[in-house]
Amino acid sequence: MAALDIPAILPGMKHVTIYTTPTCGFCAMTKKYFQENNVTYMEKDVSKDFNAAQEMIGKSGQMGVPVIVVGDGAGEETLIVGFNRPRLAQALGLKG
């Protein structure tokens, strides 16, 4: 499943945003993990999108990629820095 520009977010549905750069290997691995697990995600390339870069730095307080934000559909967000399979699985309710 490819990244969507505008993900359809329904109430109670998890929505996933990943902040990336094109040359980041761990970003590629994280996206592959999403695709293998049929997770729909929105990608923001912080090398091309200044506002997205500022947003990522503001949310995470740091400048490393990837940063993943998992929203639970009820206003709560889980923020994960780096490709951390167990934490992603937990945040997305997937089997590790």
């Binding site: 750069t21 094109p22 040359t23 980041c24 290997g25 691995m29 090398s47 400048m63 490393g64 990629v65």
Partner: protein
Amino acid sequence: MQQNDIYDVLIVGLGPGAITAAIYSYRKRAKALLIGKDFGGAVLVSGEIENWPGEVHTDGIQLSQKFEQHVKKYCTDISCFDQSLVTKIEREGNLFRVHNEHGKSYVSRTVIYATGRKPKQLGVPGEEQYRNKGVSYCAVCDGPLFGDKEVAVIGGGNSALEAILMLTKIASKVTAVNINPQFKGDEIYIQQLPKLANVEVVYDGVTAEIRGDGKFATGIVVQHKDTKKTREFPAKGIFVEIGSLPIIDPVKDLGLELNAYKDIVVSRNCETNIPGFYAVGDVTDVRDKQIVVAAGMGCTAALSAGEYLVKSSS
């Protein structure tokens, strides 16, 4: 323990050495387990790659994905692959017990150890405080975030040169700090340096401090090795490329022979001083830390392990 619970070969790592060892072991129909965290290992953060035979030009992401595809041609289930980190390896008589990060352990007659290396740190004030807040050990990953900003690259080898050449296309200015009076790396990179208008090279420079505003890094303080004069360079991104250390924590109690740099000493057949325990690639004392060398060693280690198994069972 049942005999069929024991692996013939347990391969630790997912870089080129481990992947090659796994391919050879699976194809020999050995009872083999490949265990490691991230496909590609250091290759994954290698950026452009132009010295892997058969690929005129590729990058770390693509090559790592090809490694995964290739190994999964032979193995797709948990009987031969465990995607987790190895935390400890210990001896049990003539066998080896390998523990993973989730508390699971495996027993094997032989081990091929291919964990590679981790980036070395500067150990200066501000480095920890501003880690991921400007200080990065992966120019390939984080470099694109510093478009039109001033950055610094610290180091004098190929990794530093690659980072400089990449960042010169992104950043407004690159300050390259080299502790030595010249770069040691591929001529193809070194020859490009004088042509780069936005690069200032500081030779004989010792990075003394990372400075910041409390939230993010803002610059570095560099001291001249001989004159001891200091200069401050503004930098929002500081890329540390000063070499690496072998990942030997899981085997520190095993009694392996190490050289002065803590690299595992191996023979030309990838044998260590412990019978049945082989090491390959960047974690060893091999002179050239190269993808193609690691892959070649992976082949050698798999064949050596196969020979050891035949001899020890007869």
